[in-house]
């Protein structure tokens, strides 16, 4: 109930902004800026680029807020962020797949144990090999933890289609990853034994 009611207040802030009290836009910024930055950073893996695209997203959101009518503000904002990322790759890296930039070896992540790193790499490889539309739904649900209703809005697909794609992809993944993980465990055991 609390989150529901909070969102009601959010809509009041939006209504105020649309009525001319744009000073309240800062409250929307405070609420969402971390999440939007995390969304963009996880897809660009480059701090300065993520900052640039976060700026672009918020300035566009400010410009477009008067035309926001109803529905989920969060989904609307993520849609703008997603377009900013897509535009960036169209303009700057036309030949490079977005997910291909992920490089765990040089990432900012906390160092993982060997077995975990191997698992991560296997899963990352599997993610990279997915068709982009399926990968995006997996990422929006598991990385960004967005509900399917909002994922549907962001990707322009139906909610039922998003759910089905997610479920089917996870089922397929289970079979493929299992073998990889087992292999990883064997390598880990060998690593521990010999080093």
């Amino acid at each position: 109930m609390s989150a529901h009611t909070y969102r009601m207040d959010e809509q009041a802030i939006i209504a105020d902004c649309q009525a001319g009290r744009m000073d309240r836009f800062g409250e929307l910024y405070d609420e969402y800026v971390e999440r939007i930055y995390a969304f963009i950073f996880s897809r660009t893996r480059h701090r300065e680029t993520a900052q640039d695209l976060t700026s672009t997203t918020w300035l566009k959101a400010m410009d477009r807020l008067p035309s926001f009518k109803r529905g989920s503000f969060q989904a609307w904002l993520y849609t703008i962020a997603r377009h900013a990322v897509i535009d960036y790759y169209r303009t700057n890296r036309p030949a490079e797949d977005l997910a291909a930039r992920i490089d765990l070896a040089s990432s900012d992540q906390v160092e993982h144990q060997v077995a975990d790193r191997l698992s991560l790499q296997k899963v990352q490889t599997w993610l990279d090999q997915l068709p982009s539309d399926r990968r995006e739904i997996i990422q929006l649900r598991l990385w960004d933890q967005l509900p399917f209703r909002e994922i549907a809005t962001i990707t322009g697909k139906s909610e039922a289609s998003c759910k089905m794609t997610f479920s089917r992809t996870i089922r397929e993944m289970r079979g493929q990853i299992l073998i990889s993980l087992m292999t990883g465990l064997i390598i880990t055991l060998a690593y521990v034994t010999f080093y």
Partner: protein, 504 residues
């Protein structure tokens, strides 16, 4: 296993129950995918810098809008001055600048004209938007529990996450009021102003179809002066301070940029409610903004909702470490509308009326919004007379609130309500021809007692009493079923339909 992973599993099992046999494997796989996301730490300096950039852009845009609202589109600079003189004369004639002194049968400051019964049509139908929730009243209204689960009445929620059932308790006998529904009239006539501009610039405005003035902005020609925007579509006036180069940089940065983000404002910096109200009162008096038809001012405190429990204890940022309370640089003093002797609230129970924003650093008014003549039409509608039906809505906390059914894993939190006041709830409809504000008779129950440690994001329970709205609530809000296993499917809804995303 995290609640989110549990939620994902529940969704997967709903689609394919046989997957439960591989649960351990699925958990590891899901959590590994989640772990592939790169951790992102937003640089605090960047966060502040972007915030200030956006606020500057907001200010710049307001400045630009002032220039473009009337004169720029028509490129009539050299003809603008005489047109402006005429325009201001018309404005002064129409509004006595901003001193509204309407008179009418319902008391000082408020004018109400009576029309036939149910003259405003079906209040529960059509494409409409509630003011507070902004949600269209379709039967796909959803509940968010925590950050993960989304459910509708027919959806089953993962019960392993913390699910609370809030039961709003009021035990005394209800007295249901009998009041008409009111519709605010946006009667800032603009035809005269359009005519006043008709010949300016040599353009033949008659050659355009149904040309009308949507908004006019008047700006003080001085450093840090105020601008007044007359919004003819909504029938309101908005007053806003324009910060320019003349203001001390340190003051501007302190008041506009930094404190919101880094919490430089401490409790001791925030003026008392009485001081804030005194500042607002003085400003209104200095500028001839009438307080007729407005009730006792209150200072909004909803910025504390995410920081304290309802009983006032600080929430914990991390274990055993309470949050540092954040105070916004601007606080709002609300002068609630007092119509027919009834107070007016929005659907969350906040006082609704004239808003005066006071900067707590400079102790100056930065804006005043919702300045409008209180002119309404009044129409009788069938009100609910069944106390039991009304109490059913009260017990779940409002017309569109969901509450889970009592079930294993669902804890019940009892909220005690105080004696209700009758009043009006503002419901805003977004229709094709603009915004329509309706004041609907309502009972407003104050929250009297909340168990220690609970945070409730509402200060009152508001129940509109128009029968058709309550009848419609049978298909909205209500109870949620909670079961150990998820239902087969979620309702499909209408993803993206009408969403803002479609506007891009």
């Amino acid at each position: 296993m995290s609640p989110f992973t549990k939620q994902i599993l529940a969704e997967l099992y709903a689609d394919d129950p046989s997957l439960q046999a591989q649960e351990a494997e699925l958990i590891r796989m899901i959590e590994t995918v989640i772990a592939t996301r790169l951790a992102a730490q937003l640089n605090i300096a960047f966060r502040h810098s972007l915030r200030s950039q956006i606020l500057r852009a907001v200010s710049d845009r307001a400045e630009k809008k002032k220039l473009t609202n009337v004169f720029m589109p028509m490129r009539i600079w050299k003809y603008a001055a005489p047109a402006a003189v005429i325009a201001i004369a018309v404005l002064v004639w129409q509004f006595d600048v901003i001193k509204f002194t309407p008179s009418g049968p319902s008391g000082a400051g408020v004018t109400i004209s009576r029309v036939g019964a149910e003259a405003f049509g079906n209040l529960s139908g059509g494409e409409r938007q509630s003011f507070a929730s902004g949600q269209s009243l379709t039967k796909t209204t959803a509940l968010v529990i925590g950050e993960d689960a989304v459910a509708s009445r027919t959806t089953v929620i993962d019960p392993s996450s913390e699910v609370k059932r809030y039961e709003f308790v009021y035990t005394n006998v209800l007295t249901l009021p009998n009041l008409p529904v009111l519709r605010r009239q946006s009667n800032l006539a603009r035809s005269s102003l359009t005519s006043a501009l008709a010949n300016a610039g040599g353009l033949n405005l008659e050659s355009f179809t149904n040309l009308q003035v949507d908004a006019v902005t008047l700006t003080e020609n001085r450093e840090d002066g105020y601008s007044l925007t007359y919004n003819f579509q909504e029938g309101t006036v908005y007053l806003n301070r324009q910060f320019g180069a003349g203001i001390e940089t340190s003051v501007r940065e302190t008041s506009l940029l930094a404190p919101d983000s880094i919490g430089q404002i401490r409790a001791t910096d925030v003026p008392s409610d009485a001081e804030l109200i005194s500042i607002a009162n003085s400003f209104l008096a200095d500028h001839g903004i009438s307080r007729k038809g407005l009730g006792r001012p209150v200072v909004r405190k909803d910025y504390l909702f995410n920081q304290t429990t309802t009983t006032g204890e600080k929430l914990m940022a991390v274990e055993d470490q309470p949050v540092d309370l954040y105070y916004p640089s601007d606080l709002t003093v609300v002068y609630p509308w007092d119509v027919n002797g009834q107070t007016v609230v929005d659907e969350s129970g906040y006082a609704y009326g004239l808003n005066v924003i006071v900067n707590v650093v400079t102790n100056q008014v930065t804006s005043v919004s919702n300045i409008t003549p209180l002119t309404f039409q009044s129409s009788d509608y069938a009100l609910e007379t069944d106390s039991e039906k009304t109490m059913a809505v009260v017990s779940r906390g409002g017309l569109y609130n969901y509450q889970p059914e009592p079930a294993e894993g669902v804890s019940t939190v009892q909220i005690t309500l105080g004696a209700p006041e009758s009043g009006y709830v503002l419901i805003r409809y977004q229709l094709g021809d603009g915004t329509h504000d309706y004041l609907v008779p309502a009972l407003i129950f104050p929250i009297a007692k909340v168990p220690a440690g609970e945070t409730l994001y509402q200060t009152a329970v508001v129940v509109p009493l128009v029968k058709e709205l309550l009848d419609q609530a049978g298909g909205l809000g209500g109870e949620l079923e909670v079961k150990p296993l998820p239902a087969e499917t979620l309702p499909s809804g209408e993803p993206g339909s009408g969403d803002g995303a479609a506007n891009q």
